[in-house]
């Protein structure tokens, strides 16, 4: 039905070109791909399409008897279009072999192809092919996360891959290959890096790079858990000291300068997740850091290139009782359509995932319990998380990758589980309802899920997801929700702003009301998602207005845009309002 609807909206042409930089180009209508919806009425909202799509990847965690914490934390996945063919490709981060024991000071290295990171290219028929070697993206070290951004504004997405012991920046050569430019760029870092985010911190039109680090950690042979056979467990992060993040300022010449201390971001944390949004709508992008078992950070951009942590003062640093929790994944988006970005943070069982509703005055209210999230997540442990509108009804729902970090958890807590099914929480407009049980078979399978990226793999207007599992295979979750609801997918192209338009704020208004989103590739856990902004429009077939505040400060308004299309919007040279297309 939706494909039918999409076909009715044939590509539209701009009646006139307003200026060189302002183009409004509908890229695609829904494609008739091999992965199209197939089971209307079956109740299978998401279907595991991994095998069918030709993706065969297994994350090698290299578990040892020593229970090195590193083993249970990975890894990430990226969904991005590296060759600009309009179809999302996939990059998967992999581990490395660990000896048992591993000597202190070791920086693990990939020894053979089973440990390679993998780049999967999406072909025209919707299936994927492994192009890792051709692209020179095998990677090095024990990988953790991945961030996607076009740091040199050449129109091709580059990759930053985090790992234990040092990170890599891969420049996209625009021909299907990448070059390791880490050394020249000066962004190798060190220690245990986790999630990273590309974002233009100082609005100079070039993406800077935020890199979280987890712990001051080494391969020490430390016994945690009960001292008996089979009970050895991964150590709690309280056993290790926090460590400061790395912040690389883009020098616009292919090199970067580390500036964390200089701009107020040098505070030590136990960072695992990062997400960006302008939470006070002052025109400067802010960001949230999910720390494990210590206070969470909410960094406010002071507008002069420096930052200050307002986590406690904004009441997002702890839960409603004032207690810290094991922050892991995070997303930062407006789920209640009031114009103010809200925050969701995943954590461990018995803690409840934290949902903070933005009050619009610089503070947040802990809303896990009132919004229904608290009760449904009490017994679960979450990692990758995204606000997204899976059924295109105009309300952002939640998909959460779950599984405990301790493979011994059931020995001591029989009611908790190492392997857990995914959680799908539907936003009814009045709160969230757990709809996992009626959303398909994948929600009954126990996985040790970690990273999760989201994007519209088949460009059908329904968001799909890719989930990694620790020491297991990945899962490509194809969205097969049966719905007549309309949608819009916006690809923003910056010109004064960074090319990816990361940080741009989009307001879409239909007859049913407004919705808001921020352009970003970062959020979730260790992962990078489709940079295109997705909106579900419900029964509305037209967006009355699309208002964009570009990172440069330029404002742009488009009017009366038909739904069910993928629309490229270029940043104009000056603030503007478009005529009807």
């Amino acid at each position: 039905m939706k494909r039918q609807r999409a076909k009715e909206n044939q590509p539209i042409r701009l009646k006139r070109l307003l200026c060189f930089w302002f183009t409004l180009v509908p890229l695609l209508t829904a494609q008739n791909t091999a992965t199209a919806s197939s089971a209307p009425g079956s109740g299978e909202t998401f279907v595991d399409a991994t095998q069918r799509l030709g993706v065969n990847f297994r994350y090698q965690a290299s578990h040892t008897s020593r229970k090195y914490l590193l083993e249970t934390m990975g890894a990430g996945v990226a969904l991005f279009d590296y060759d600009n063919d309009g179809r999302l490709d996939m990059y998967l981060v992999n581990g490395a072999p660990l000896s048992d024991p591993t000597p202190k000071g070791t920086v693990p290295q990939k020894t053979d192809s089973q440990y390679w990171n993998r780049l999967y290219h999406q072909k025209a028929d919707g299936t994927f092919e492994d192009v890792t070697e051709k692209a020179s993206l095998e990677g090095t070290g024990y990988g953790m996360g991945v961030a996607v951004g076009d740091y040199d504004n050449d129109g091709f997405e580059d990759l930053y891959v985090t790992a234990y012991g040092g990170n890599k920046l891969y420049h996209n050569n625009r021909n299907g290959t990448f070059t390791d430019v880490t050394q020249k760029a000066g962004v190798g870092g060190g220690g245990w890096s986790t999630s990273a985010a590309w974002v233009d911190l100082d609005r100079d039109g070039f993406l800077d790079l935020l890199v979280l680090r987890y712990l001051d950690w080494d391969f020490d042979d430390v016994w945690c858990g009960e001292h008996k056979q089979g009970y050895r467990a991964y150590c709690h992060p309280d056993y290790f000291k926090p460590i400061s993040p790395l912040v690389f300022h883009n020098n616009k010449d292919g090199t970067f300068t580390e500036v964390a201390q200089k701009i107020g971001l040098g505070k030590a944390g136990k960072g695992l997740g990062i997400a960006i949004a302008d939470y006070d709508r002052d025109g400067h992008i802010d960001f949230f850091v999910a720390n494990d078992s210590m206070v969470e950070f909410l960094y406010h951009n002071k507008g002069d290139g420096t930052f200050e942590d307002f986590g406690l003062a904004s009441e997002v640093a702890v839960d409603t009782d004032g207690r810290t929790y094991a922050g892991m994944g995070v997303d930062f988006a407006d789920y209640n359509n009031d114009g103010w970005p809200d925050i969701v943070v995943t954590d461990l069982a018995n803690q409840r995932y934290a949902l903070y509703q933005n009050n619009g005055d610089g503070s947040f209210s802990y809303s896990s319990n009132t919004a229904g999230i608290g009760q449904m997540t009490m017994a679960h442990s979450g990692w990758g998380v995204r606000f997204f509108d899976y059924d295109n009804d105009g309300w952002k729902d939640l998909l959460i990758a779950q599984g405990h970090d301790l493979d011994t958890i059931e020995l001591n807590f029989p009611n908790l589980h190492y392997r857990e099914p995914m959680l799908l929480a539907r936003n009814t407009g009045r709160g969230f309802v757990d709809v996992s049980a009626q959303s398909g078979n994948i929600f009954r399978q126990g996985w040790v899920s970690r990273g999760m990226a989201m994007g519209d793999l088949d460009n059908d207007g329904r968001l799909d997801a890719v989930v990694t599992t620790n020491d297991g295979k990945i899962h490509v979750l194809h969205n097969e929700t049966v719905t007549r609801n309309h949608w819009m997918l916006l690809k923003l192209v910056g010109h004064n702003s960074n090319r990816d338009a990361i940080g741009a704020e989009v307001k879409l208004v239909t007859a049913s009301g407004p919705q808001y989103a921020t352009v970003s590739t970062a959020s979730s856990y260790l992962s990078a998602s489709d940079k295109r902004v997705h909106f579900g429009l419900g029964q509305e077939s037209t967006a009355q207005r699309i208002e964009i505040r570009w990172p440069s400060g330029i404002r742009q308004t488009l009017k009366d845009i038909p739904a069910d299309q993928i629309l490229q919007i270029d940043e104009p040279a000056t603030s503007s309002t478009s005529p009807k297309p």
Binding site: R66, V222, C224, E226, D238, Y239, V295, N350, N412, P414
Partner: protein, 348 residues
């Protein structure tokens, strides 16, 4: 577990008295020693301890003066002194199970569970442990965060003496800590079988109901516990604060105030009770009361990060922004100190 809940089960109350009641001492005669015993029996522990010191000095090793000196010092909460006396005694009485069991107990109170367990192991090789000895062994494992072994030994203690309410209580608490709610419930029900109006057991049943997502049953349990202790001389603040907290969480704001105020009246120096009442006052807009209670909570427990955070929120709401920031800074400092505070045990 529900860390925000009142600590209904300190692991250590009554153990001193119980241990000393069951002490397996023997006595010999000497002037100072006899006078020491008389003082000890009269409850004059400082003078008893001094007399036992004299007796030992006058006739080293001739009496059990060191043992009784240790016993007196335990009454005086001088565990370091008791340990010194016991270690001296054991040097000349290597096969004294009494001394070794007592040393195990003293080391437990000194928060040295591994050494305590070593002493209990030595003692048990000489004389079979009692249920109370095994209880302390179980509590040693609790201190080591080894709940599996704690439960093992507490279960053995319960088997040894099915009427020992303390053992059932600690066993119930251990199960609760591991979210084994069904077994915890059985343990507390066993106490209620032995003592049908046991307030502590009923209060813990309330916690179990709460953790199991049965708030109505929890509220009933707390209310029963409160009713049972109404006529007692020393009612506990615990069921009151737990009831008030839960009612507040359930949105029954009006009903929450009475038990929360009662809890503070019963335990004015309990920071958790003050904190909970302060949060309540803040939520209902009684800012003066909130400020008083939250400030008192931070005075009672200066290192309580949660109390500082809640006080910061209160200051923020009444627009005392400098003071709010100071409280948030203090919270951050305490939380940062806590993150990375645990010491790891190398695998040797």
């Amino acid at each position: 577990m529900k860390g925000r809940r009142a600590n209904t089960g300190s692991w250590l109350p009554l153990v001193v008295v119980l241990f000393l009641c069951g002490f397996r001492g023997s006595a010999q005669s000497s002037g100072a020693f006899d006078r020491g015993l008389a003082e000890f029996r009269a409850g004059n522990y400082p003078s008893a301890a001094a007399l036992f010191t004299d007796a030992e000095a006058a006739s080293p090793g001739a009496t059990d003066a060191l043992l009784y000196q240790a016993k007196s010092l335990v009454h005086l909460q001088d565990f370091a002194g008791a340990e010194r006396a016991l270690r001296s005694y054991v040097l000349s009485h290597r096969d004294s199970a009494d001394a070794l069991y007592m040393l195990g107990f003293v080391l437990h109170r000194e928060n040295r569970p591994a050494e305590s367990l070593a002493s209990y192991t030595q003692a048990a090789a000489i004389t079979r442990p009692t249920a109370d000895d095994l209880k302390i062994v179980g509590l040693d494992y609790v201190l080591l965060a080894d709940y599996a072994d704690a439960i093992k030994w507490l279960e053995k203690a319960a088997t040894l003496d099915e009427t020992n309410q303390d053992v059932w209580y600690y066993l119930g608490r251990a199960y609760y800590s591991k979210a084994r709610f069904l077994e915890a419930r059985k343990a507390f029900l066993k106490i209620l079988e032995l003592d049908p109006h046991n307030v502590r057991a009923e209060n813990n049943l309330g916690l179990i109901f709460e953790s199991s997502g049965e708030p109505a049953a929890a509220i009933d349990a707390y209310r029963r516990a409160i009713a049972w202790q109404e006529q007692t001389l020393r009612p506990s603040e615990q069921p009151y604060v737990n009831l008030g907290n839960l009612l507040m969480e359930q949105g029954q704001t009006k009903e929450a105030i009475e038990p929360l105020e009662k809890a503070v009246a019963l335990a004015p120096n309990n920071a958790f009770c003050r904190l909970t009442l302060g949060v309540y006052y803040r939520k209902v807009g009684q800012m003066e009361g909130a400020q008083r209670e939250l400030e008192r909570a931070t005075q009672l427990e200066p290192d309580n990060a949660v109390a500082h955070y809640q006080l910061g929120r209160l200051y923020k709401e009444i627009h005392a922004l400098d003071r709010a920031q100071a409280e948030f800074d203090r919270t951050a400092e305490l939380q940062t100190r806590a993150a990375g505070s645990q010491s790891a045990r190398p695998n040797h």
